[in-house]
Amino acid sequence: MELDEFRTSLDTWLDEHADDLAPEHHGLGTLDQQMAQLAKVKRLTFEAGWMRWGWPERVGGLGGTPLLRAYLGEALTARDVVEPGIYSMTEVLAPTMIDFAAPELAATMVPRLLRGDEMWCQGFSEPGTGSNLASLSCRAARGDDGWRVTGQKVWTSLAQYAQRCVLLTRTGSLDSAHRGITALFVDMDSPGITVRPIETMHGAEEFCEVFFDDVVVPFERTLGEEGQGWLVAMNLLPYERSTSLWHRAAYLHRRLQQLLDAAPEDALDAAGVGEVAQLLYAFRARSRSTQHRLASGERLGPETSIDKVLLATTEQAVFDLAADGLAAEVAIGDDEASHRWRTEFLYSRAATIYGGSAEIQRNIIARRLLDLGSDR
């Protein structure tokens, strides 16, 4: 299936099924409502085939270029049918399974994620391990019946909804840094796992703490080899900074247009509006070229840190503009639309923090793209 054909037929299908796809809730909805909506949309688009395009046949896909996935996410986001952040988790976790899980495991599990039967989470950060990922200490030791995992993760998005977790564990000595890390695919209903959601500033319980108390994980759930966890993580992170960002650009475009629709006369400054539109244009053009590199089989790497910096800058600029243009709504409005602007403004503050902070991205750019050598 070619992109143009996919685009045309998908657009037609989305128009025809607009009523089926529409959320039952109004406005932003609660996280529970968003998750239910996501599962519904994934199921409908999977059954109609759209969700399967761009994924390999061995994991239940229909093949074709990854550009098809990028367009599907863009189209769903642009129509406000899914929340882009939770939708794009698939783009981060499915490629990792395809690249590193045993083929039978990937063939069983990935279709469940695509169809919306399951939600997965990503267990990377720990209380003592934020930007310095290689210092993680959640321990996995070899037992008779599998890995035995003990430790804690934090900022684990949507863990309370997740059936599985891609988990980074320490299997080497404590000072083995990035060499002693192993990635595991863990069932979240395993005995010994406790999930505690964290209420964030923007009012959603999107992030969680996850506690592991002697949790047994079968050896065949190892992703890659023992000690290859860093490779798994480094392979995953560019996905976090590619297709999901393309979806986010569509979302920012929709919200900026809605801001133009809603902002009262004289509330917005022309130079500010012009600059944000230019930022968004440049970010989207950058993200587009990344999508085309991915589709041509190029391996994505540290250059995606530029995409992430551009996203964070653009997202904050869009919502800074909203905070000016819709000042009363953001500050004192209590209706649904105001609640949504406020929530999204607050969430945009995290854009320079999550998924590798703005500082970490600049460190990567300095070290890997500018070849400035070690910072010590």
Binding site: D261, A271, Q278, A282, R284, A285, I365, L369, D375
Partner: protein
């Protein structure tokens, strides 16, 4: 389209031309390598390759006037006179039968708008006042053209906005080329300069300035690439504005990293910093284009269409 093998050869010969020549000598060298034929055959490649490299080498040529002439359907080698600094309306102003000119650069043609259509006046034999500009960047070899002409031969032209759009992309590429050289110079200095017993490239404050510069450059490059696909004057104006702003960011960060040596004329940086100031103004500055775009968006309340995947 220029295909891969030919492209490599083309890039090499353009690279050699801009590194060995500047000004009239570069015009001659471009003639020799057939750049105008390339412009005929593949506008995007010819423009992006030449202007990025010209910017990187801090060289100058008459090619911008040729690009506009070609886009307007005029004999490209004659070139058109460019709008005055910071402007993008045609540099000619008709007063009855007299043509008043205020523009930049030597050129055979001066375009003026009559309201319903645009006319190109052949001023090759006219006695216009040519002021060689020193200004902030004497190496640019800019000429300010003023004066009045009567009875020049005219030719109707179409597509002034489209010609300005291609010109903006050309200047955008030149700004990106210059920014990349500034970053290279600052990077080399950061790795060589030792303070407190270690290269200043090890300090995060320095690393982040250089990282920020690369982000700015890549944003401009992406916007330019996007605008070539879009082919709309609005996209070209956005890309030019992003490129101008990025180049000023690059100049600021790179000058700070190069510190004392970058403030002397013994180091090449100052020539790039100077050029950014002029190029940002050519065919509309980033500030003015940004304000203009914002005003338009607030009037129509409609964002530019999305660049498709």
């Amino acid at each position: 389209m220029i295909e891969d093998a030919a492209l490599e050869l083309f890039e090499r010969s353009i690279g050699h031309a801009v590194e060995s020549h500047t000004g009239e000598a570069l015009d001659a060298a471009l003639d020799e390598v057939g750049w105008l034929d390339a412009l005929e055959a593949d506008q995007r490649t010819a423009v992006s390759v030449l202007f990025e490299r010209q910017g990187a080498a801090n060289a100058t040529s008459s090619a911008l006037g040729w690009v506009l002439a070609r886009s307007l359907g005029l004999d490209s080698r004659g070139g058109v006179v460019l709008p005055a600094l910071g402007r993008w309306d045609p540099p000619g102003d008709l007063d009855g039968t007299r043509l008043r000119v205020h523009g930049l650069g030597r050129g055979r043609w001066v375009v003026a708008s009559t309201g319903e259509k645009d006319l190109a006046f052949d001023v090759s034999t006219a006695a216009l006042d040519l002021r060689p500009v020193r200004g902030v960047d004497p190496w640019l070899g800019l000429v300010e053209v003023t004066g009045e002409v009567a009875g020049a031969e005219t030719q109707p032209v179409m597509g002034w906005d489209a010609a300005v759009a291609v010109g903006r992309l050309a200047v955008g590429h030149e700004l990106v080329g210059g920014s990349r050289t500034m970053l290279t110079l600052a990077r080399e200095h950061a790795l060589e300069r030792i303070q407190f017993g270690r290269p200043i490239a090890t300090f995060q404050a320095v690393r982040h300035r250089l990282a920020e510069t690369l982000v700015a450059i890549e944003a401009a490059q992406a916007a330019l690439d996007g605008a070539w696909l879009d082919r709309s004057p609005q996209a070209a104006a956005m890309a030019k504005a992003v490129a101008g702003r990025s180049a000023r960011t690059a100049a600021r960060h790179c000058q700070q990293v190069l510190a004392g040596i970058g403030f002397t004329t013994e180091h090449p940086l100052h020539r790039y910093v100077r050029r950014v100031l002029v190029l940002d103004q050519l065919l509309g500055s980033s500030n003015v284009l940004t304000k203009q775009l914002g005003t338009e968006l607030l009037r129509t309340r409609q964002l530019p269409p999305l660049l498709p995947l």
